[in-house]
């Protein structure tokens, strides 16, 4: 228990985190690149054709991982928000701030690839499918977090306000998902489900899993890089940053 507290305490120290992040960075980048590139090449080039959708289904090797990650980033942000509110840890807030734009970009990518997939499948770029609509609302939630984070100048107030907003958002996500699904059945039953069919052959899901894992690692890398930048900015008046920037 005491060890854990010490670890927690250390984790609160931006300087310590800066060093640790620096050591992890190359590994995250390399392993992430290898995994996701291998998965994508396998998926796009070698995985079998879908007997219904032909080659167009192959975009799920991009679409599914981005959508998956976009959603789990918001959950991670909510976890960090709890840490911000309860333990007032600066790093947790830096994490939220650093990854919110990443989450927004991934959500956008998921929507974009969904639209690209929709064209050959449904014959239209956009369809008010339950999943796509939920993703669109998730994008709005990310925009809200980014806008609020940018609007409040005071660091501490901003951290806590953003944390509250993220938590309110995360409570709403299941409600939004449920109501959008209900709304969708009311208007148009979805013809194709956007994600995998139950019986997906291993040649399809293994590369998919590789891309998901690879993307997670790349996300970790990007989050660490962005957090390092944020740390340097916030701690710009401390001795260690001054010494680090101008040795």
């Amino acid at each position: 228990m005491r060890l854990m507290w010490q670890f927690f305490h250390k984790l609160g120290s931006p300087k310590w985190f800066y060093g640790i992040a620096g050591r992890w960075l190359p590994w995250l980048l390399i392993s992430g690149l290898i995994l996701s590139l291998a998965g994508i090449v396998w998926g796009l080039g070698f995985a079998p054709k879908d007997y219904l959708q032909g080659n167009s289904y192959r975009i799920i090797f991009i679409h599914v991982p981005t959508a998956f990650l976009a959603q789990s980033i918001y959950i991670m942000m909510a976890t960090a928000a709890v840490v911000t509110l309860v333990w007032r840890m600066k790093l947790a807030d830096m994490f939220v701030r650093s990854v919110a734009p990443v989450g927004a970009v991934l959500t956008f990518l998921a929507l974009f690839t969904g639209a690209v997939w929709g064209k050959p499948t449904w014959g239209t770029w956009w369809i008010w499918d339950a999943r796509l609509t939920s993703m669109l609302i998730l994008l709005f939630l990310y925009f809200g977090v980014m806008a609020l984070a940018a609007a409040i100048a005071d660091e501490k107030s901003s951290a806590r306000a953003v944390a509250i907003l993220v938590l309110v958002g995360v409570i709403n996500i299941p409600i939004i998902k449920y109501s959008v699904e209900w709304w969708n059945t009311l208007h148009q039953p979805a013809t194709f489900k956007l994600t995998e069919k139950p019986s997906m052959p291993a040649e399809m899901w293994v590369p998919l899993l590789m891309v998901v894992l690879g993307l997670y690692l790349l996300f970790g890398w990007l989050a660490f890089v962005r957090m390092q930048t944020e740390i340097l900015y916030r701690e710009r008046r401390t001795q260690w940053v001054k010494a680090f920037v101008r040795p």
Partner: protein
């Protein structure tokens, strides 16, 4: 001077109970609103005008209006509430009343609850009251109008409660109004979906009891959780001023 207890330090100030304190907050807010009748009227006029834009801008055809009417009214009510949210705490913030509210010994979230109820009484309730007239104008039948009003009656307080979080978070910020809308609109979507969905189900002749119960569940959830978030956000916004 206070003649009842001296030395001062020896006396233990008694506090008023929670319920009378909430009543006092509610009464004061209502009184202030009633002194500014025009401000009371504005969201209502906005509501009516937005609804009248749809026949003009989209189509005055009876079949279209019947189909879209509930949605139009709901979207207009949502926008109208959104516009009025910015005022919810702003005046209190500017004149220092909010500081005094935070410093009251009663739990802040209950006082915020009272304030939100006051906000709904002066902005949400009037919308529900004029909705039947607008319902007739978009050619909804009697039963649908009744269901529509019921959904608005349950749904508009949810809008006020969720909105109070955004109003508290953006208090004292320069970009207040637009930012507030950005934060709150995504959170309004479930209420909008169920509000219009219920009316559309009624138009289609389906039973709507379960949907109304769900809206009621939203209300209970919003009423119990939102004041906590708003109270926390108010403390942050005050701390920042």
């Amino acid at each position: 001077m206070n003649s009842e207890c001296r030395p001062v330090q020896a006396c233990v100030p008694t506090a008023v109970g929670v319920v009378p304190a909430m009543w006092a907050v509610l009464r004061r807010d209502l009184r202030v609103s009633l002194r500014q009748r025009q401000d009371l009227l504005n969201p209502l006029l906005f509501f009516v005008m937005v609804v009248s834009l749809f026949p003009l801008g989209v189509s005055p055809e009876v079949s279209f209006l019947q189909q879209a009417g509930a949605g139009i009214l709901w979207v207009a009510a949502l926008l109208s509430t959104l516009l009025s949210l910015d005022h919810m705490f702003r005046h209190d913030f500017d004149d220092g009343t909010l500081e005094q509210l935070v410093l009251q010994p009663q739990p802040l979230y209950l006082l915020v609850l009272a304030k939100t109820v006051a906000h709904w009484l002066v902005t949400g309730l009037p919308l529900v009251l004029v909705a039947p007239m607008l319902g007739v104008m978009v050619h909804l039948d009697g039963n649908s109008i009744a269901i529509l009003c019921l959904t608005l009656l349950i749904g508009t307080p949810v809008l006020s409660f969720i909105g109070s979080i955004g109003a508290a978070l953006t208090l004292g910020l320069r970009s207040g109004g637009v930012l507030l809308s950005l934060l709150i609109i995504p959170l309004y979507i479930p209420v909008l979906i169920f509000g219009t969905g219920t009316v559309n189900a009624a138009v289609g002749g389906a039973p709507v009891g379960a949907y109304l119960a769900l809206l009621g569940a939203f209300l209970v959830l919003a009423m119990t959780l939102a004041p906590f978030a708003s109270a926390a956000a108010l403390r942050i916004s005050l701390s920042n001023s």
